[in-house]
Amino acid sequence: MTTEAVGTLLRPLTKTLGRDWSGKSLTWLTALAALLIVAMVAVILGQIAWFGAPTLTWEFLSTAPTQGMTAGGIFPAIFGTAVLVILMVVALVPFGVGAAIYLHEYARPDAWFTRAVRFSVNNLAGVPSIVFGLFGLGFFIQFLGRNIDRALGLDVVWGQPALIWAALTLALLNLPVVIVTSEEALRTVPREMREASLALGATRWQTIRNVLLPQAMPGILTGAILSVARGAGEVAPILFTGAAYYLPYLPGAPTDQFMELGYHIYVLSTQSPDIDATKPLLYGTVLVLLLLTMLFNLTAIVLRTRMRARLAGRG
């Protein structure tokens, strides 16, 4: 309910009790709404930390699952998640920033191509993640992978779910975020900076490379942070494109399948033969996923803060 609606409901009361009373009650109502969010976070985090912490031993972090996933650790899933996210960022950031540079620096705003790009970016952002998963399966694996195999005369190497395809699918999912935040970051660089550089005889590309990108970097990093946090937690896009139920080995090539924390949580909570034995493991895994995501975020936030301070002339 909006505050306006609340205000309307309270108007008769206001008349009898006075303006002050309704102001106070509104303050309390909005504070309550805010408190609800804090409470939810506290309960979720608290419960996970409470039940997950005992499981969180070095052994849990460093070994593979054993006995049909009712014992052992989750190292392969941690490893797979890390590699997946790194590959995703490597594929995602150059494309995302490249598209943002094109849109902001080179594209004519009213050209049909520019409009088509913007239309696509906006719509890509609205596509459900499971659809991205299906697209990855259809395009990357069935089409791209199979054709690579055919061209190279291989049996089935590329044309199957694999780390590389899952990473690319995730990258595609996050592309709109990175494009939009990068373009926004480029837009916040003052016009005077661009003019100063051009007036000194810098070429357009030199200006982008030496003036615009460094100053837009904190903003671009924000986009990357968001995508990493999202990438580490998304299960649907990797469901068909590379995540494995269980693997006795770590992925060593981009064409290998991999275990992933989010998917592992799904497996533990739905496919377990012994729910009671799995439960502590499940809490531990969720805790690790949360910590990992927070760690990614924290690193990037620290990096961003430092960059901002440097750009502002401090530090």
């Binding site: 003019e195 550089s197 007036a199 000194l200 030496n210 502002a312 002339g313």
Partner: protein
Amino acid sequence: MLTDTPAARPLPARPAPSPPRPAVGDPGARAARTVPPALVVDDFSLSYGTQPALKRVSLEVPPHSVTAIIGPSGCGKSTLLRAFNRMNDLIPGVRTTGEIRVADLDVRTADVVDLRRRVGMVFQRPNPFPKSIFENVVFGLRMLGLKDRAELEARAEASLRHAALWDEVRDRLERSALQLSGGQQQRLCIARCLAVEPEVILMDEPASALDPTATARIEELVLDLKASYTIVVVTHNMQQAARISDRTAFLLNGELIEYDETGRLFTSPSQKLTEDYITGRFG
């Protein structure tokens, strides 16, 4: 040291100079014909889309002089200034006719990067990059591909000395340029511009964002720099134009109303409009 620059490129061959055309409203330029002008504007018009901003402006600027462009807001002074280094190119829909030459270089056909190295610019608001003082000064040189540290340092020092900033910043070249005061930042921007050794320096109201003391220093600096550079300065401030310039151009609604030696233009203008403007009857 400052003459041996990798920026100095062989000048493009050009056809034999056409006979000089008389510049409109510019008796002074005729007298100085023996020295070729540093800047020539010949029947130059510019429009933003269908909106005309400059109408058939013609003038000649002698080398090693300060020329002020005055006029009320929106009269086209900044547009004219930006025509010399083609900064107007950044605005979509700009169309021009007529000719502008920087020494022997035709501005319309020149390589724009090359042109901007020969015609430097200082902006209204100090706009140092969020980098160190040193990196600001050598930015243009780095863009030219100069990498030698000793050479960069020597050029940075020379430029900062020339811009009367060296003594204030010599101990903190690696500190952020944003820590400097507004006036220092503006002199840094001038040093940055000098480092690439332009022939002409364009200044777009270079002191309008500064306090009186800093303004005085910039004005002093402009007079110093005149010995080595041709300077064109746009200003709102008629006293400033009178103090620092040798010649003054008065623009109104995109038309050049009068262009003359500064002393004469301010004491005995030939046009009624000029007189009205400088006596504060409008603008």
